[in-house]
Point group: D2
Chain length 365, copies 4
């Protein structure tokens, strides 16, 4: 008896489902039409006043069994998906997204292709300290077929009394090394005023973790025609990271690369916690090259090799790692940089794992 | 022109809103009816098979502009609020909630009222180490008009080689002290097998942070008729904390008190981060007494007084703090316990702040 | 027998302790002397090369039972405290610290004293949207005896497509309101290039959470002679926060105030987690005024009053809260701003709690 | 002139360094001797009273330039390393550590070797729901050469009103399936009272994340002679995880395996944050097999494959993943389980990556 009763009610519910669906789609069409009319008037803004009126009217006419809170909640959802329908078109306009551009962005600098499917190694000292220091690293790069050299000229440091980098002198060293050894150079810039200068000296401008939401810097770098490597903020969500990249693309600069570098968590065995699943997420959501900085994420030499393997296996476009001719006397990050022999061992084992093929083929032309 | 057009469309949308509302409420009534029929059959479980059928049918009939994903999403929402309508009655059956019981729960033990609106002080050593040690604290309690004494007999310790508490001997000491000084005693129990024993020795059973989701322990303590103090887990959400308390009430025990004790975050200046806003949230959502453990949340003697003030000002039913006759030689938590003179100063300043009135009036009868 | 033996060994250890102490202090004196000699040469930098030589020499001469790692560790500690001895003098030079300046810094603007021991209320809309909007709030301020008005002209937003504030127009509105109603105005500035302008329009420059480690902005604001309110970063440690303030003072600007605004944690019941114990920590470590932003830390209207009470009880110099004439239609933070009647109730209850005295006496002159 | 002076002082410091080293090693020898004497007396406990006396004596005799705090700090360090010298022997006794046992622990069950260097796949439904459901998965296991089947019989759920598992009936189903298909079965046990029973039905007992610090359960499982898989707690540090395993080994059970399953962070794009660097850390610190649960760490089907690749590349002994014949109607974790065809694709791609070799060779005998 009850079974039959249940079947009857279920059929009635099925009927209602379809009626509701029909009305919802009618409503959606009207909202789309409305959007177009409003656009003609140039007033395409979300209108909370109108939303409040609709909610009030609905609550006024609500006879239950849904209570008013539920009605408000449910219609907020309906309003939201209708707005999303408009925004979908906008989101197709989210310039970093796969929806906007399905194929991978490849950034080419001095013949090196970032994001072409073959993982790269970005290596170099934490800070540029002298011409000799960077040259020692560069010579090894050339020996090992590497093409990308990082080095910090402006160092954002927690304390104002710590070594702040060589500044322009550091950029000049990088320029000279880049030219002499035909290497792509990457260095962090921390304020809009230095960007002009930087484009003359270095090949890729890095925006560091602390500046990921320095929106004025993002906008300024977005107005350049110069490759950018954007690092994830210390506790930025994936969504915030994507929007930070969007700030750059929205200004016109499409040569943007992303870098996961660990997030701040309670765990203190590592300097930060490498969020490895951020890589496939960013690759799915955006068309930009994605790198993994194993040095800053772990802060430990003994974890660089396994995390580099993981970083490539998970689908990144390459790994960033710090190497210094004499880490013990480095002016910053002494404990986490590899010396050159250890770096070469790291490289050998990474190649031996089969995950990293080396760069000779891709880049020697 | 466009303005008129906009007005026309808006009116059509208003119309559709009301029609949709009407159908949604019709649907909700049917779902309620269905729930009753299913209850007759004893099969009140959520039926995902049926849900899938409905979604398939809807997608099959969807003609847009909403895409199928949006239709699925929107109807999942509609199904959800309809289910919630059933669960609302269940949630009114969420025993810890204000919806179930508007007035504050007051737990009375040996004449002490926990949660009666007048904040209490729960104090005592981290671990019970000897009769003399606890007696020294108890004598001061009596002098200062305090009535509630905490002390650990079973100590959950990170390492198996650390001092694990005196066990039953510790409970016996608490029993003796509680009787001799007419104090309410609180101590942590860590496994179902010890509960029976514990009810004979101590007045309030504490469930510690590490066991907040030890559901078998919660159920077992729920079957007792004995007051319980439940501490928030190291990284439990407020929602998980509330549900943990519900596990106890669901088994019949209504004498439950909650204790915020700091959560695990990246910040290392304090042992944990005191989540002060958890207190008003828990007071809003539940009818249970809520305490603040300032010792474990901060782990620093120099922060006990200001956080105790904050804990009372924010609306808690009292503060828990550790005091030890000789903290420097304590077998656990040496760095964060107050000695007796410092505890008395703490008490004086708390009273001087006007936030804490002392317990003489409430408890001296 | 063993007991006697133990006593004998202990006496030998005591003897060695004192000898070690003596040598350590001798060593420390030499290090101090060395520091002075090096200063004469202008080379006061930490010398890792020398440190490595010493460690090598020690390890070479180590005969155990300590292993080489322990010897390195222990002497690194000894080197560290010796360096700290030099830095202590530097740290006495840490300009924000109580060691440098024992008495509280009081920042006085238009007769309002920030940090004079009597808590203030900083209130106003999230964004400046129009003259009328801000005026509505300002009129209520005057009625209620409040003197400090906040309002955002430049809004750092996650998405580049969200409302970014009125910019200079917003600052102009604040200037006009500040003059007409004799209110102190606070507004966030996000890039060095806008600072010059800002000093002409607003009384206090706010550095927002996202820019707490935008060191170039900190340095630029440090070169002004204008009050600054520095907010804690989303996941900044207390130590990083203190150093960020130091960046400002190191450039000469001493009119700096701090603001705790919640940190990012796993808990999602609130927008952020108010780190209430940060307030007494900052008051202990620094001499600067410290405020609590209850709006951004909780993100919930229902928690503003209890957390404001906690914020004052814990020892802050005041509370920041958002109020908007019509929050439902606000262009940002719609869900967390109070409307004016609710704000007045908030104010009434805060005064009724006895924790907040109102500002009439302090500021009406 | 100053240069010579510097050299002279440096030589004096070098001299002092060696003298201090000599005295420290003398002291360490005495402490070792003392430890042995105390052991004879059976009182090997750390003696804080004695430590305090020594510190008082030192401070009393301190003439600077080190201040008393520094002296206390430095000698606490010296005491600590001396104690560590005793504990080192203890730590060599930390049973899980590589120091105790250099070679990898291999746990062999029904011919399957966990931890033998060849990564395994542990797969199965979140909850055991019926014989048919588990059989469908098991048949596919056999087809694909897999040997290890997971399935939950006791489900720890946030809410007491959620499906709590079939209990003993679930274990019986696993027993039947394990026998019929020659599979190794793994299931979680949540309370000491059920362990006896469990050993009769299942091959590997899982201790879940919520019970990682349920020390009584750990001790009880430590007294069994039965393989155990211990999952990392929701916000456990690596150190706490290692100590939790030590609780089991300390009771005699050496067949322990570890499983990283993501930690709780602020990031909400994934259910938890997979802490990939925990794997090499655990492999370095312990000799136990280490697995990666990609289902619970990510909570997203679209991330299972890349994180499984990362998990193997980083050096784990295998990957745990959930598969269900009909995930949409699963009684728990509906959104994150793979259906069988998708699971087979997952398997194919994992094999195609070269990181996972399949289990046919290792296990078919």
């Amino acid at each position: 008896m009850a079974h039959d009763q249940i079947e009857t009610i279920r059929k009635q519910i099925d009927q209602l489902n379809l009626q509701i669906l029909d009305l919802l789609n009618q409503r959606a069409s009207l909202v789309q039409e409305l959007g177009k009319e409003k656009e003609k008037l140039g007033s395409n803004r979300f209108d909370p006043e109108r939303e409040r009126q609709m909610l009030n009217q609905l609550v006024e006419h609500n006879k239950g069994p849904f209570n008013d809170t539920t009605v408000r909640h449910l219609f907020k959802q309906i309003f939201q998906v209708s707005l999303d329908l408009q925004n979908d078109e906008k989101k197709k306009v989210l310039l970093v997204s796969r929806k906007k551009k399905a194929e991978d962005t490849v950034v080419t600098v001095k013949g090196v292709e970032f994001g072409n499917g073959s993982p790269l190694l970005i290596a170099g000292p934490c800070s540029v300290e002298s011409y000799e220091q960077v040259k020692a690293v560069a010579e090894n790069h050339v020996k090992r077929g590497l093409r990308v050299l990082r080095g910090g000229a402006y160092k954002p440091r927690t304390s104002p009394y710590d070594f702040q980098g060589l500044g322009e002198e550091g950029l000049q060293i990088l320029k000279r090394i880049g030219d002499e050894f035909n290497l792509v150079t990457i260095s962090e810039i921390v304020t809009p005023g230095d960007l002009e200068l930087a484009t003359q000296y270095i090949d890729v401008i890095q925006i560091g973790a602390r500046n990921m939401q320095n929106f004025e810097l993002l906008k300024a770098v977005g107005r350049l025609n110069h490759p950018v490597l954007l690092k994830r903020g210390l506790s930025a969500t994936i969504e915030e990271f994507i929007y930070a990249a969007e700030y750059i693309l929205a200004e016109g600069n499409t040569q943007v690369m992303l870098c996961e570098r660990g997030i701040r968590t309670y765990e203190k065995a590592t300097r930060n916690t490498l969020d490895i699943s951020a890589v496939p997420l960013l690759k799915q959501e955006t068309h930009l090259p994605v790198f993994v900085d194993v040095t800053h994420s772990t802060g430990r030499r003994d974890l660089l090799l396994p995390t580099a393997k993981a970083g490539i296996a998970v689908g990144s476009d390459g790994v960033m790692v710090e190497v210094h001719p004499d880490p013990d006397v480095a002016l910053s990050d002494a404990k986490q940089q590899l010396n050159i022999p250890d770096f070469n061992t790291f490289l050998d084992e990474l190649i031996a794992s089969g995950l990293y093929k080396g760069e000779a083929v891709t880049t020697r032309r």
